[in-house]
Symmetry: C2
Subunit: 274 residues, 2 copies
């Protein structure tokens, strides 16, 4: 990363105004998936449309993205609508279009938090710290994997074609951060929520099958102060599936700061053709 | 329930066409909350708008509802839009309006499942069976609680003003079904996904505080055949919070059939004023 050059993620989520609620963006080769862009960056783009909107009020607490159809490499437009603004919450409806096609729909909820009684109930997982684990080699034909530093304590991405044994479940536990490093913010956290490999590959590491996320949701538990405190350190991701059934499986995950801060919980439903 | 009379839930979710993608409904006294209607029925209404839509293709796999503002007792309109129809999935954008105000937004994903390799990974909780537990008495001033038969194995709704001790966490485990009984379908399952009492009341049973669900999501793991097999039997709900923090807490839950079928997973974010 040359001095002064924008981080590749900031390039990938950059939007130019086309009108009061219409924004122009472009997919980024650095975040290419096997076909089209990495879904996490699509989610980050939709959130970014709200984050940079002049009518924005508050910080994100929830994001939903429905992947309605394939996103083609190239330009896209994002349509934003502040459906309702209350005193402490703001509700946005979102859409990504390419030509006449809706390729993604979504919604975001922003809120203003006030300090009050708080309690963390989920347990930070027992795990080796990030520096004691090796970075997993990126997957050449899946370009976006080079945009993350991932260090697996459990449930790595299998290398199809190489000998591999199933661990019997779909659980993954890994440290991850942007590569090159970039201070965490809501947009990069949204993308990290989708950076887990498909659970079916962890459960069945010997068979590659076509998959695609259909719907994605994230709850942001951390506010901007907590997120800024993380900086460019690794965050811990912990993911599993509840069920694989007749063409769709789910993925539930938590993202944690190394200091035990619960940053986000996320859940998605993924199509698979087994 | 007199012979031939519709079930109160079917009355509560009934919609009349106002145009190709506009539907008229009305809140139901049987599902009244302390203020306005029970959110689970609002979610069921939005899903019902899709289920009864002539352009519907497939069965629901996911539903998102954002509670944008208070729903007033009385009439409302639902606006539906099939944003994208693919071969095996269909994406709907949804909105509930009262006068000029958007009171809820949402989206639904429908899909056609095909039998293939499947695996259940989540564990059915250890629990006493429904007949061995007593029905919890409904809460008089919260009318919708009379529309459910709930039998708690853990984490009941506290009776504010009566002596009560915190169990130290927000976990609830309970059997529940419509009262009077009604065969389970996607609409009633959506409502059941929101029928858990607010987690903060389980965690802090001595203090009533204002709360309100801000966003709600459900993944439907069961198809229509599995759901029909449940009939009007109790389903097992298992809910907990990950975190309460500065005005918002989450709730994650699973809904199971008594035979060990995972029916739905659900997650919501709730405003609280502590």
């Amino acid at each position: 990363l040359s001095a002064g050059a924008p981080h590749p993620l900031d390039e990938a989520i950059a939007l130019q105004p086309l009108g009061p609620d219409r924004w122009q963006g472009r997919t980024s080769p650095a975040y290419a998936n096997m076909v089209g862009p990495f879904g996490g960056v699509t989610a980050a783009v939709l959130l970014q449309a709200v984050l940079q909107h002049p009518a924005r009020q508050g910080d994100p607490i929830a994001l939903t993205v429905n992947f309605a159809g394939p996103v083609a490499d190239g330009g896209f437009e994002v349509v934003t609508e502040a459906a309702r603004t209350n005193r402490s919450t703001q509700h946005w409806q979102l859409r990504m279009v390419q030509g006449a096609e809706t390729v993604a729909t979504g919604s975001a909820v922003l809120a203003t938090r006030r300090p009050t009684w708080s309690a963390l109930e989920a347990n930070f997982p027992a795990v080796a710290d990030a520096p004691s684990l090796d970075r997993a080699p990126p997957i050449g034909r899946v370009r976006w994997t080079s945009a993350y530093d991932m260090r697996f304590a459990k449930g790595p991405m299998p290398r199809f074609g190489e000998p591999s044994a199933s661990q019997g479940d779909s659980e993954s536990l890994l440290w991850m951060r942007d590569e090159p490093p970039r201070p965490l913010d809501f947009a990069s956290l949204a993308a990290l929520c989708d950076a887990f490999f498909p659970r079916i590959f962890v459960r069945r590491p010997t068979q590659w099958v076509p998959i695609g996320t259909v719907t994605f949701g994230a709850h942001f538990h951390a506010d901007a102060t907590v997120i800024a405190h993380i900086g460019s350190a690794h965050v811990l991701g912990h993911a599993r599936a509840h069920q694989f059934r007749n063409g769709f499986f789910d993925q539930s995950a938590q993202l944690w700061g190394a200091g035990g801060e619960l940053l986000a919980t996320t859940h998605q439903l993924v199509y698979y053709k087994a």
